[in-house]
């Protein structure tokens, strides 16, 4: 046999594995510094959010009050009884809700971008949010206020609507490997359809009820105590956990269904698991906070921009960054037009639409 180019047969040196591990680490091991940076950001935005509002609370006082609440820690706080009540009964539940919704939408967005191999996928753009909204409007509007916490009727109805919408989007686009544009167009069509159904359902409600539902639909983070937090938290923990456990699958799915199957992954099954978890996560977020656009699109792209393209990094960081982003945006929603309030969904759309345009201009790639 002629030998034009010898097969490199260098025995792997001892250092090579370590060198490779470094290369792998750079691309998909979540570095402690990135994780720490994101966590610090969440903390800072949280403190800022807790201290700003109609009644300004000093950050030092907020910090000491919160530290004082930790089990086994006792520090003097400069906040009055009344200020402490504002912090613990009003500010914190809202902050926690904003962070949970942000984390949910950030992770759901990253997951949808992964399973549909589409950098423009987002719960809002795929019609998932509209479907969830339709389900929730039906449940809210017709007084299906049954159940408690995570087992209430509203999130269940929202989930049913959301699942219907995402299935319809994927089917109309002829399967999950449709081109980004096709899937998006079918998502837009589904969003329009479900919004129309929503409007129709709204028109059948009496005026007080419909105004109430409408203000919820715009995307707001209004809370009454910790109820909404209790509803959403289990979904974020369980569905978010499922998504995080499937991070590796999302990376393998990036090479397409055929190759994934040849590599030994069942693409249909892992896609199904991820879609159900992400849809449930979106539905739970929508049922407490209405339609908040673009968070699921913007956050994963911000992560890609500064770290890596691997979902092993994108997914956890999207949760943290989503939490920080929505908490930060909510500060604006509460204070920009004080004493009245802007729907938080309006601000995320204002920020998100230009980012969407930029991603589109730079070329549809990267998921």
């Amino acid at each position: 046999m002629i030998s034009l180019r010898p097969v490199p047969q260098r025995a792997p040196e001892l250092g090579s594995t370590r060198e490779l591990e470094r290369a792998v680490d750079r691309s998909f091991s979540l570095s402690w510094s990135a994780l720490l940076g994101a966590a610090v950001m969440v903390l800072l935005v949280g403190l800022l959010s807790a201290s700003s509002g109609a009644a300004g609370l000093p950050i030092a006082g907020v910090t000491s009050t919160l530290v004082d609440r930790l089990p086994g820690v006792s520090v003097p706080t400069s906040l009055s009884e009344q200020q402490q009540a504002i912090l613990l009964q009003i500010r914190l539940p809202r902050l926690a809700l904003g962070m949970l919704v942000g984390a949910a939408l950030g992770m759901a967005g990253a997951a949808f971008q992964g399973v549909f191999r589409n950098p423009l996928a987002d719960p809002y753009l795929l019609g998932v949010s509209a479907g969830a909204g339709f389900g929730a409007v039906l449940a809210l509007g017709f007084g299906l206020d049954l159940g408690w916490g995570p087992f209430a009727a509203v999130p269940a109805a929202a989930f049913a609507g959301a699942l219907l919408a995402v299935t319809a989007s994927a089917l109309v686009a002829r399967g999950s490997f449709a081109s980004p544009a096709t899937l998006l167009l079918s998502g837009v069509a589904m969003a329009a359809l479900f919004s129309a159904a929503q409007t129709f359902a709204l028109s059948k409600l009496d005026e007080t009820r419909s105004r109430e539902v409408l203000s919820w639909l715009f995307g707001r983070l209004a809370t009454s105590g910790w109820d909404q937090v209790i509803l959403l938290a289990p979904y974020v923990v369980v569905c978010g956990g499922v998504l995080l456990m499937h991070r590796r699958h999302l990376d393998v799915l990036r090479v397409g269904d055929d190759e994934a199957r040849a590599l030994g992954l069942d693409p249909a099954l892992s896609r199904l698991v991820v879609i159900v978890a992400a849809t449930l996560l979106t539905a739970a977020a929508v049922s407490v906070s209405g339609l908040i656009a673009f968070v699921g699109l913007v956050v994963p792209h911000m992560v890609r921009l500064v770290t890596s393209h691997s979902y092993r990094v994108i997914l956890p960081l999207s949760a943290l960054l989503g939490a920080a982003l929505l908490a930060g945006v909510d500060i604006g929603a509460r204070t920009l037009v004080a004493p009245s309030e802007l729907p938080v969904g309006v601000i995320t759309a204002l920020v998100g639409a230009p980012v969407f345009a930029i991603v589109l201009r730079r070329g549809v790639r990267g998921a």
Binding site: M1, S3, L4, R5, P6, V7, P8, Q9, R10, A11, P12, E13, S16, T17, E19, L20, E21, R22, A23, V24, R26, S27, F28, M245, H246, R248, D251, V252, R254, V255, G256, D258, E259, A260, R261, A262, L263, G264, L265, R304, S308, H309, S310, R365, G366, A367
Partner: protein
């Protein structure tokens, strides 16, 4: 030489049995039979080249062998029936190279079949990926995004991923169609070296008949989903047979002991009025 895989090479594992055997393999696509009963056998360490005109069913045959399209009939691998990614690896014709994914990450994906549903790559998986990268001379490129590699480098990375799968049989779907001549030969030499060192069995769909004859032990000529001829290059590369199957007049020449397939010489038509 040292075998990168933790497993015994196919030649010893198979204990004399074939690395691959199919019986009456059929594939239907939208009601039309595109593979009409293919019987074939590949010995451990053998290179079988699948040749035939466009649309003959070469890719379909490979996809069926990899379990990517539903088929009827039987496919038996050395370890038993049924296609499994631990038994067979696939180098696709035009692999998808994800944006921003590093070569190391890409090769590590080859370990997917060896991982549980939710488990992560272990140290062993990383070591295997590192060894494969080193062996294919890709070590310096480990941290490079696959999208930033040249065509030849990318093809070697795809080969490395298939190798990290540690399957005793490798399927290659026209692995060099996008490469220039030098890189084509380079990749095929590499595959040849691997099979000689590890006893890897190779089934490759190949476009270029002369290259197929040079590298493969046996050729499988298919046309319209049927096996037309199978055997050593000397038997299959018959000018009359090839001309009939490819629908054009072909001739086979011996150059330095290698068979080369060329379009048959035909009388050149000269423009009118030209005097020779």
């Amino acid at each position: 030489m040292a075998i990168t895989t933790g497993r015994a090479p196919a030649s010893t594992r198979a204990a004399g049995g074939p690395a691959l055997r199919t019986e009456d393999l059929r594939v239907r696509y939208q009601g039309v039979e595109v593979l009409c009963g293919v019987d074939l056998q590949v010995a451990p360490g053998e290179w079988l080249a699948v040749i035939g005109p466009n649309g003959a069913g070469k890719s379909t045959l490979l996809r069926a062998l990899a379990g990517l399209v539903p088929s009827t009939g039987t496919i038996t691998y050395s370890a038993g029936a049924g296609p499994a990614p631990r038994e067979v690896s696939l180098v696709p014709q035009s692999p998808l190279l994800p944006d921003g994914m590093t070569a190391a990450e890409y090769v590590l994906m080859g370990r997917t079949a060896h991982l549980g549903w939710l488990s992560r790559e272990s140290r062993t998986d990383r070591r295997i990926a590192a060894e494969v990268l080193t062996r294919l001379g890709l070590h310096a490129l480990a941290g490079r995004p696959v999208t930033a590699l040249s065509g030849g480098e990318a093809q070697r990375v795809v080969l490395a991923r298939a190798l990290a799968q540690q399957a005793p049989l490798m399927l290659l779907d026209e692995p060099t169609s996008a490469l220039d001549l030098g890189h084509q030969v380079g990749v095929l030499e590499l595959v040849d070296g691997l099979r000689r060192a590890d006893g890897l069995s190779v089934v490759a769909a190949m476009h270029d008949l002369s290259t197929a004859a040079r590298f493969a032990d046996r050729l499988l000529l298919i046309d319209e989903g049927r096996v037309v001829a199978v055997g050593a290059p000397a038997e299959v590369l018959d000018p009359n047979l090839l001309s009939r199957v490819y629908g054009t007049s072909l001739t086979v020449r011996l150059i330095d002991g290698e068979r080369v397939v060329l379009p048959a010489a035909r009388p050149r038509t000269r423009p009118e009025g030209q005097v020779s």
